[in-house]
């Protein structure tokens, strides 16, 4: 019985935590400019993320070590610096974007400019981190994040032509605007597969005291949770395709994204859009700050746990305190949140090889995983994701210049 409640909570957490500033922005941009044609990229990104989360969760449950622990222990300090620096930089950019997302939602709700909101939002997040436990930070924000289900309601009310949506789930090449199409494809993948997600997930497995008995919970949480969460991103793309594309509106401000829900659901849709943007971005803000603190603490072997009082892990607590305030600075001095979001999604996509390729070795290491090493199907999938990550690294900069 306890198992089932854990599974249910895990799945709900993944659904409520899936949408955030990057997926909301890139899915609706994709729908507005290319209709359903980029839906297959969301499917690809969601499946890749589900596999990566299952694997890093399995590593943690079996070895009692996080993915970061193993990156340092098995590849040595010299190599470890590479994922450390890359993940740190891109996650910091994404963090600033999430704070931007919350601030924009508050601007739309109150009329007070978003720049004024950045520091108060960071302070509120910090209070929750300082006082709250891991369960409160993870489950609390994810449960509230279920408000994102409104995207599914909005998409259904617009009565999409399902055969056309199904067609969009299969890869296709655009006849024109190729640079922009691939730029958005890379952004969508960067928004779906963020390293902070699986770093946070594998640290969370230890925070929640996972053992081998949680391998089933892990599989269902990573699989079902992400598939449903990805479904919400597809719903956002569908709604944008039906609301924005016919009016030839390209998303260059968050206000335009609100129309995606305000059009089918009226005033309630607008309010629920603001709630979704505000809550999901706030939840991701907390997750990313913690992921960054975990990254440093685990990499250097410091004491860490969100369930400990700050005096028990002073370096860990100092890191999240300083980072959440620093990340508010770009938004507080008026950086455009949507531009920041787009740049950070492409940077994220480019950073993937350094955290995906090492998994190939770890997931086949019998010393760590014993009989739970990858089977051939998981290995084939992981090789495909690794190749995809290299393609993203190569394509990111040229596409940012041509299509951004």
């Amino acid at each position: 019985m306890k198992k089932w409640s854990e599974v249910a909570l895990g799945v709900i957490t993944s659904i409520g935590g899936f949408l955030e500033v990057g997926s909301i922005a890139t899915s609706t941009q994709g729908g507005a400019e290319f209709g359903y044609r980029l839906a297959w990229v969301l499917v690809l990104g969601t499946l890749s993320l589900a596999l990566l989360m299952e694997m890093t969760g399995r590593l943690a449950a079996v070895s009692k070590r996080t993915y970061v622990d193993l990156l340092r222990e098995r590849f040595g300090y010299r190599f470890f610096l590479l994922p450390l620096v890359a993940v740190f930089l891109v996650s910091f950019l994404v963090l600033a974007s999430e704070i931007g997302g919350v601030s924009i939602a508050l601007q739309m709700a109150t009329g007070i400019n978003f720049a004024w909101w950045a520091i108060p939002v960071a302070l509120l997040g910090w209070v929750l981190l300082w006082r709250g436990t891991f369960g409160i930070v993870e489950k609390g924000t994810a449960l509230l994040g279920l408000v994102a289900l409104v995207f599914a309601v909005g998409a259904l009310k617009l009565h999409p032509a399902w055969p056309a949506v199904g067609h969009g789930m299969l890869p296709s090449l655009p006849s024109d605007n190729r640079a922009r199409y691939w730029y958005l494809a890379v952004s969508i993948l960067g928004a779906s597969i963020s390293p902070y997600l699986y770093l946070f997930y594998s640290a969370g497995a230890l925070e929640d005291g996972w053992t081998m008995e949680h391998l089933g919970v892990n599989r269902v949480t990573a699989g079902l949770g992400n598939v449903f969460g990805g479904g919400l991103a597809v719903a956002a793309l569908i709604a944008a395709a039906l609301v924005l594309a016919p009016r030839e509106i390209k998303v260059d401000r968050y206000e335009q994204i609100a129309m995606v829900l305000a059009s089918p659901l009226g005033r309630a849709g607008f309010v629920l859009f603001l709630a979704t943007l505000c809550i999901t971005c706030f939840g991701s803000t907390l997750e990313i700050v913690l992921a960054l603190a975990y990254l440093l603490a685990q990499g250097f072997g410091w004491s860490w746990s969100e369930n400990l009082k700050p005096e028990k892990d002073a370096r860990f607590a100092t890191v999240y305190t300083v980072l959440i305030l620093l990340a508010a600075v770009p938004i507080a001095i008026g950086a455009n949140p949507l531009t920041l979001t787009n740049v950070s999604m492409v940077a994220t996509a480019a950073s993937l090889p350094v955290t995906v390729i090492p998994l190939l070795a770890l997931m086949n290491d019998g010393d760590i995983l014993m009989k739970h090493v990858n089977g051939w199907a998981s290995n084939v999938a992981l090789v495909v994701i690794a190749l995809l990550s290299v393609a993203l690294l190569v394509a990111a900069l040229p596409l940012q210049l041509l299509g951004g």
């Binding site: 070590r65 622990d69 040595g76 072997g301 410091w302 369930n307 400990l308 700050p310």
Partner: protein, 126 residues
């Protein structure tokens, strides 16, 4: 466990003290060479300067430059005799107390001068 692979199982492993508190990782392992005796694994080193040497000369120089800019002079490195090792497993347990370790200087400094000055910091579990 019969044999322990130094590079695989010891270098970079998580260290814990007598009370199972995390106290860093094995940043460097030193062999002792003494006239008339075979070399033996003698010392575990924990600390940023030791770590930096593993990366390369450019990294040592970069680190030194940053420290000059920040006005930090003292290096806080711990050298622990290998016979303090109590257990080698998922983590390596040392017969030391974190409070006596030079490499935990920053943890203590932040705790005293920053973290504990903010309300709600004290205690064990939240």
């Amino acid at each position: 466990m019969g044999a322990v692979h130094l590079a695989h199982d010891v270098l970079d492993a998580q260290l814990v003290d007598q009370a199972q508190e995390k106290i860093g990782r094995v940043d460097v392992l030193l062999l002792e060479l003494e006239e008339g005796h075979p070399p033996r694994v003698a010392t575990i080193v924990i600390g940023g300067s030791a770590r930096a040497e593993r990366v390369g000369g450019w990294f040592v120089a970069l680190r030194r430059g940053l420290r000059v800019l920040l006005g930090r002079r003292e290096e806080h490195v711990s050298r622990i005799q290998f016979d303090k090792v109590r257990r080698i497993g998922d983590t390596i347990e040392l017969d030391v107390d974190e409070k006596s370790l030079e490499s935990e200087h920053l943890e203590r400094w932040l705790k005293e001068h920053f973290v504990c000055r903010i309300p709600g910091a004290r205690g064990d579990q939240k």
